[in-house]
Amino acid sequence: MSLDLLTIIDTDGKAPKGKDPNLPAAELQKLYRLMVTTRLMDDRGLALQRQGRIGFYLQSTGQEASHLGTAYALKQSDWLFPAYRQPGILLLRDVPMEQIVCEWFGNAGDTSKGRQMPVHYSFRRANFVSISSPIGTQLTQAAGAGMAARIRGDDTVFMTYCGDGGTSSNDFHTGLNFAGVYKAPVVFVVENNGWAISVPGHKQTASESYAIKAHAYGMPGVRVDGNDILAVYAVTKAAVDRARRGEGPTLIETVTYRIASHSSSDDASRYHDPEVHAKWKKKDPIQRFQQYLKHKKLWSEKFEAEVVEAAKAALQAAVTAAEATPNPAPETLFEDVYMNQTPQLKEQKQQLLDLMAKGAVGSEVGHFPL
């Protein structure tokens, strides 16, 4: 098991023969489009939050290669147990922009019916399992789903994500241990972006890397340059194939950096080191990949303009549509607790509706976080 950092695209955008996965031109451009669209989607999300039009937002800025490169190695039929910082995967899996934006507004168009804060997506049609806030829980669930697929003889592969902070969770230990014992077809991706909100990596663990934690579970661990989408894709493809062959799980550490603040509630300037920050800004994964495309003659000003145009248009249309969509109806509060509403829930629903019929109901609500 090698723990050196795997890289393919060098700083001036060249990929050495032999190492270059040689993806078809159309695929390369598609990946570039996804990265740019993801970046613009994050910009728009934060802007909407700043304008007070949505309550919260969390960006993946700087980590587009990390999550798109990994998810791109899957088949559409494979499943994702994501964390909250992989929005590009929704675009990769053709989720309509309007549905994504409706989730930000938590309106009637939100597949989750406005029950979670923004960016906690659930898209069954995309085999994208509902995101929860508690850190790490998805890791053990992915192991369990992988165990189930093995029991059934399905050839589904499961990919699950967490951050460097997530490696300290109970479920990191449990999920990887179970996956190892049952040889579950799971790829565990640790997006090491240097921070868990304000806590830096060296306060998260004393281990020399996150990938090395794979040792503890008898599975291979790989460290890859998380800002090099081709390297990320290459190592993940190998892990996915291995899982599909029934050889068990892999832990991949994508070494990247959180360029933005943790979320719209955070101000990283309180704790970020400006120098480190500047260094990483230079390593922007989109710029890096753009260089590579230039060498391949697959990038032009015109192409760039078209990509940005299309993305902005899609976002604008989605925001317009989302803002025209009403909130979920009050009675939806009582749906989906159980498949069938209990008598108790029916009674509580009736009490609320009766009271609303009588007049003003509703407590005033502050902002997140106060």
Partner: protein, 338 residues
């Protein structure tokens, strides 16, 4: 798999006399044969057949892929079950003692209970968590607790507790067929206390319906699990003193069979609720609160709780900690003289 959709009720292809734990095993066998999505796992459930023997013979019968041991992690047992359920299986996870479920508490309350709601119904968790609970076997501090109230206070979970062999089978089968996560808590004290007739094969007792264990007119005593027989003994004694006690066996704590409760209390005008757990914020508080909110005008005496003390569970003095006939009698008496 059609088998799991049929919401059939009891059909009698003969009955067999068995203990409560044998009925649990019978239910697992029945549903595993019925539905190949059902898998059973936990610590020591395989070759050993479970520390109490609830899964005895299951691995031999269905093989290691349908019934298997896990590493020592409740977090993993439940977290994996959630993933399996989301993917389409019907996991039945065993937690060796309810006292040891806490490492999995996050996966239960944050994940299993909320999956359907938080995903707008896109993803669901049809799974059963089986666990022996309660006192009465000299298990001391950490092999005796009754923490059902934690789960009853968690929307998204159903909580079921049988008190007879027939109900153990019928309710467990109903739980496995349920589309939502069910906490199936087994009163270990009565695992082998007496036997009862249990229908062979198909036998479903619907979740959400209670049982009148004994009819009476003067006072309603509400119980579940191992406390039901204690209350029945007290009722017998009270009868000799000329008091007619109605004993309710809730069977399902969430969702509660409220009509049964209200009808009984409105009839008797008195209510005692008996539970093993620490008194404060125990499930009996909910029963008392419902009665105080919905049939205050029928009450002829205080709503009395006979419960475990507000202390951790002891070892040597367990026999004093557990509510017994004498304490239930005293509780009943209090509803008459106060």
């Amino acid at each position: 798999m059609s088998a799991t959709d049929t919401k059939s009720s009891t059909s009698k292809p003969g009955v067999k006399v068995m203990t409560l734990i044998e009925a649990v095993t019978d239910a697992l066998r029945t549903e595993m044969a019925n539905d190949d999505r059902v898998v059973v796992f936990g610590e020591d459930v395989g070759k050993k057949g479970g520390v109490f023997g609830a899964t005895m013979g299951i691995q031999e019968q269905f093989g290691e892929t349908r019934c298997f041991d896990t590493p020592l992690s409740e977090c993993g047992i439940i977290g994996a079950a959630v993933g399996m359920a989301v993917y389409g299986m019907r996991p039945v996870a065993e937690i060796q003692f309810l006292d040891f479920i806490y490492p999995a508490f996050d996966q239960i309350v944050s994940e299993a209970a909320k999956m359907r709601y938080r995903s707008g119904g896109e993803y669901t968790c049809p799974m059963v968590i089986r666990s022996p609970y309660g006192g009465g076997i000299r298990g001391g501090h950490y092999h005796s607790q009754s923490s059902e109230a934690y789960f009853c206070h968690t929307p998204g979970l159903k909580v079921v507790i049988p008190s007879t062999p027939a109900d153990a089978k019928g309710l467990l089968i109903a739980a496995i067929r349920d589309e939502d996560p069910v906490m199936f808590l087994e009163p270990k004290k009565i695992y082998r206390h007496g036997k009862g007739e249990v229908p062979l094969g198909e036998h479903v007792v619907p979740i959400g319906k209670g049982r009148i264990a004994r009819e009476g007119t003067d006072c309603t005593v509400v119980a579940y699990g191992a406390m039901v027989s204690v209350c029945e003994q007290a009722a017998e004694l009270a009868a000799q003193q000329g008091r007619s006690i109605e004993v309710l066996d809730l069977r399902t704590l969430v969702p509660l069979d409220e009509p049964m409760l209200l009808e009984s209390v409105r009839k008797t005008g008195r209510c005692v609720v008996v539970y093993e757990a620490p008194k404060t914020c125990g499930y009996g508080a909910e029963i008392a609160a419902i009665v105080a909110e919905k049939c205050i005008e029928y009450l002829e005496g205080p709503v009395v709780r006979v419960a475990g003390f507000d202390t951790p569970f002891p070892y040597t003095l367990e026999h004093l900690y557990m509510p017994d006939v004498a304490r239930v009698m005293a509780g009943i008496d209090k509803t008459f003289h106060w």
